[in-house]
Subunit: 287 residues, 2 copies
C-alpha cells in the first residue's frame, strides 16, 4: 500500500509520499511514488501515485513518452487543468491497453493519482485523478487530497489545515499525518519524499528525502506522541457521580440505560427492574 | 457504517458504540449497536456489532432465543470463552439460514462483533468474533478491539492505551477516538452508548448515553481539538536552510533529490543538472 498527501495553500503546495510497496505481506519493497516534472522558470508539476504499481508505472511511462512532434504532453500543456486532462488521458490509454488482460485474471485496474503544480503565471493548482481518468480539483474548503491508506492520518489534516496555513506548518502537519499512518499501518513505510513548493518559484526549491535517521522527523515522532499524551492527561476524566455538575457524563436530561437482552428462559422475577443511573448514581456506583 | 471500540484494562472493561446505520447516504437511521446481557451478581456481558444490520439483529435474536430447556445459552455458559463460542455458534446458525439467499443477490454475509464481560469469579475477558463464527481474545500487548470505521480513531488508541490505563482514562481515550472518527466520517453518528465495567462488579454500574448536548463530550471535542492545535503550533517548523543543524530536515547524510521525469522531446541542454539541495541549499531557496 501507500500513503500520499498533498495540500494547496495560499502560499504554495506541499506533497508528501511514503515509499513502501507490497504484494501481500511477504513481498515488501521500496518504490518512490513521487515524480517531479520540472522545467525551471516555466513549470513544476508533481505526480504521486497509489494503487497497482504496474499500472502507476505504465501511466508514468506513457506521460514520459508523450513526445511526438506537435503532440499533447504535460510539458507543453498551457495550464494545469489541461496538463491534468493529459494525465487522465494517459490513464485511459493504459486502461485500454492493460485492463482486458488484468480483468481476465481477476485483477482490478486500480490507480489513484495526485497531480499538482504551477505553469507560468497561473496560480498553483492541485488535482486528484481517478482510475477512470476523470479528476477533481482541491478548493478553499477542502485544501488537501490523500491517496492510499488515508484514514489514519485524516483527523489531523481536518483539524489543522486551512488555506492560510503556512507552507512549513502544512509540511509539519503532513509529517504528523504520515507519522500516525506509519504507526498504525505496516503497509506504509520510510523513506518519505517531501516537496514544498512556493508559489511563483517555478523550480524545485525545497525537497527532502526523510529516512529513519532524519532528526527533524524523529523529533516530530517523539514530541508529538509525548505532547499528545500530556494533553490527554490534562483533559479531566469523566464525572459519573454528580449528574447535576455542568460537565457530567450522565446529565439527568437523558435516560442512561443500555439496550438489554433478557434471559428468555429465566423467571422474570430474577431480572431486576431497569436501572436509570442518572436518577440514583450513588447506588449503582457502589463498586 | 458503525464505529465501536472496546478495551480490556487491568481494572475492567470499556465499551463505546455509535448509533448510525446507513444504506447508501440517503437512508440514515439510528440503531443502537450495544446490547447488554446482565444477571446482577452472576454475569455482565456486552455485545457490540457492525456490518449488515439484518445479520446483526438476526444474531442477537438467535442469542435471545437460546432458551430451550438444558440448551446452551450465553446465560448459562460457565465462562466467557464458552459464552463467546456460543455467540460464534449463533453467527454460524444465522449464516446457514441467511447466507445462501444473500449470496444469490450478491450481498455479503458481513458481521463483526465485539463481545466481552465477566462471569462469576473469572477475570474480565474481551473477544472479537468474525463472520465465520471464529474469534480472538484481547491480550496485554493489544488491549483493545475496534469494529466498523476503525482507522480514523486508531492512532490515539495506539498512543495511549496500556493495560494499566485507568477505566476513566480509557473511557476518555475511547471518546477522543470516537470524536476523530465522527469528524472525518459522516457514516458514524451520535448518540453514543458508553459502558464502563469495573472488575468484579458483576452488574452494570457506569453507563452513559451521550448525545450532542452532553457537556462532557462537548468539552472533549472542543478541548482536544484546541489543545491539539496548540501542541501543533508549539512543535518547531522544519528547518531547511542549515543542513548541519542537528534537527535539519535536509541533513547532508542523504541526497535530497526527487525522482524526475525528463521531457523526452526537449533538447537535453534545456534541462538543468540535478540539484542536490543539501549541498547548496542557499541557492535553491532563493525564492
Amino acid at each position: 500500500m501507500t500513503y500520499c498527501v498533498a495540500a494547496r495553500l495560499d502560499s504554495g503546495l506541499v506533497f508528501l509520499a511514503d515509499s513502501r510497496t507490497n504484494a501481500g505481506v511477504d513481498q515488501i519493497s521500496v518504490f518512490r511514488k513521487m515524480t517531479v516534472f520540472e522545467r525551471p522558470g516555466d513549470r513544476v508539476m508533481v505526480l504521486m501515485s497509489s494503487g497497482n504499481l504496474a499500472v502507476s508505472q505504465a501511466v508514468l511511462n506513457a506521460l514520459a513518452r508523450q513526445h511526438d512532434e506537435g503532440g499533447e504532453t504535460v510539458w507543453n500543456a498551457p495550464d494545469m487543468f489541461e496538463a491534468t486532462r493529459r494525465v487522465g488521458a494517459a490513464v485511459r490509454d493504459v486502461y485500454h491497453r492493460e485492463a482486458p488482460a488484468l480483468r481476465e485474471q481477476g485483477v482490478d485496474f486500480n490507480v489513484n493519482l495526485i497531480f499538482g503544480g504551477q505553469i507560468g503565471a497561473e496560480r498553483c493548482r492541485l488535482f486528484q485523478v481517478y482510475s477512470a481518468g476523470n479528476f477533481i480539483e482541491a478548493g478553499q474548503e477542502c485544501p488537501y487530497f490523500q491517496i492510499g491508506e488515508a484514514k489514519y492520518g485524516k483527523p489531523i489534516l481536518d483539524r489543522v489545515l486551512r488555506p492560510d496555513t503556512s507552507l512549513d506548518e502544512a509540511a509539519k502537519c503532513a509529517l504528523i499525518s504520515m507519522d500516525s499512518t506509519l504507526r498504525s499501518n505496516i503497509s506504509v513505510g520510510l523513506p518519505l519524499d517531501l516537496l514544498v513548493y512556493d508559489t511563483h518559484a517555478l523550480r524545485v526549491t525545497h525537497f527532502a528525502s526523510i529516512d529513519e535517521h532524519n532528526e527533524y522527523f524523529r523529533m516530530i515522532r517523539g514530541t508529538w506522541g509525548e505532547r499528545l499524551r500530556q494533553v490527554f492527561a490534562e483533559i479531566p476524566d469523566p464525572l459519573w457521580t454528580n449528574p447535576d455538575a455542568p460537565d457530567s457524563l450522565v446529565p439527568p436530561s437523558r435516560v442512561h440505560q443500555p439496550l438489554r437482552a433478557e434471559p428468555v428462559d429465566a423467571p422474570m422475577a430474577s431480572y431486576p427492574a431497569p436501572q436509570v443511573l442518572a436518577e440514583d448514581p450513588g447506588k449503582d456506583q457502589a463498586s
